[in-house]
């Protein structure tokens, strides 16, 4: 039998779907996708602690839905889409909790989260704050497009929209940022 490392993503996914638990094929998939999923989670969540939590959640979801991969797209695209959706869900949940716990301090909430302060360490704090004003999906689109260099075609598959809709959303999000922060975006 061909070594697991030499199998394609799709072949490994098919093997993992036949495994009863997290067997060697799924473990190999985790090892293969860990760095990329981690990058996506860190970019979208903004700090290591939340990124670690999100990355684990992504692999748990990949495990439970491993038999649902139908091969209509690349396995990598499918896995990245699950990673993005998981991060968006976690961020929305965190946002709701934040609003519930601190209804008066919405604006300062980002700064008050000790773990989230890490966001600014490698990134312009202004830009991080600007992105927080966007809709979660638009923020994710911009981050994946400009920070991770995804093509519109990949983004369209990940977000389940057409390429033109994807371009439109990126363009609108940029325009919104420019309108809100004319000085910082000139």
């Amino acid at each position: 039998m061909e070594a697991l490392e030499q199998q394609t993503d799709e072949q490994l996914a098919a093997l993992a779907a036949r495994e009863g638990s997290d067997g060697p094929a799924f473990v190999a998939l985790v090892e293969r996708f860990r760095p990329r999923i981690w990058r996506i989670c860190f970019r979208l969540m903004g700090n290591e602690q939340d990124a670690n939590d999100a990355a684990q959640e992504v692999f748990v979801r990949l495990f439970f839905s491993r038999s649902k991969f139908e091969g209509r797209s690349k396995y990598a695209t499918w896995a990245h889409a699950i990673a993005v959706r998981t991060c968006l869900t976690l961020r929305r949940g965190r946002g709701r909790r934040g609003r519930h716990e601190q209804p008066a301090g919405e604006e300062n909430w980002v700064e008050q989260q000790p773990a989230r302060r890490n966001v600014a360490e490698g990134l312009s704090l202004d830009l991080a704050r600007m992105l927080e004003t966007l809709d979660e999906e638009d923020r994710a689109l911009l981050i994946l497009k400009y920070a991770e260099g995804y093509e519109y075609e990949e983004l369209a598959e990940i977000f389940g929209v057409s390429v033109s809709a994807c371009k439109m959303r990126v363009s609108r999000a940029r325009e919104k940022l420019k309108a809100l922060y004319p000085d910082e975006t000139h």
């Binding site: 970019r43 670690n52 990355a55 748990v60 911009l142 400009y146 920070a147």
Partner: protein, 79 residues
Amino acid sequence: MAPDFLEQLAEQDVPPPPPSSEFGRQLHQRMNRDLAIVQLIELLVVVLPAALFEFARALSGLVRFSFGGKYELNEKKRL
């Protein structure tokens, strides 16, 4: 031409992922916990109701046999 303001995003450093062994251990624990929850829900929602239904069927058969003297396994035979 001035660089795009969003290009700053690509300059953000991404730390290396946590060590494989530690990540794998945490993931395994989490997966075991979630699997246990899923199986518990399946037990409560699917298995127990099915078992109770079958038990009730057997019990009703016993009662019918005791009082009526007959127990028809196949309801269609009556037609």
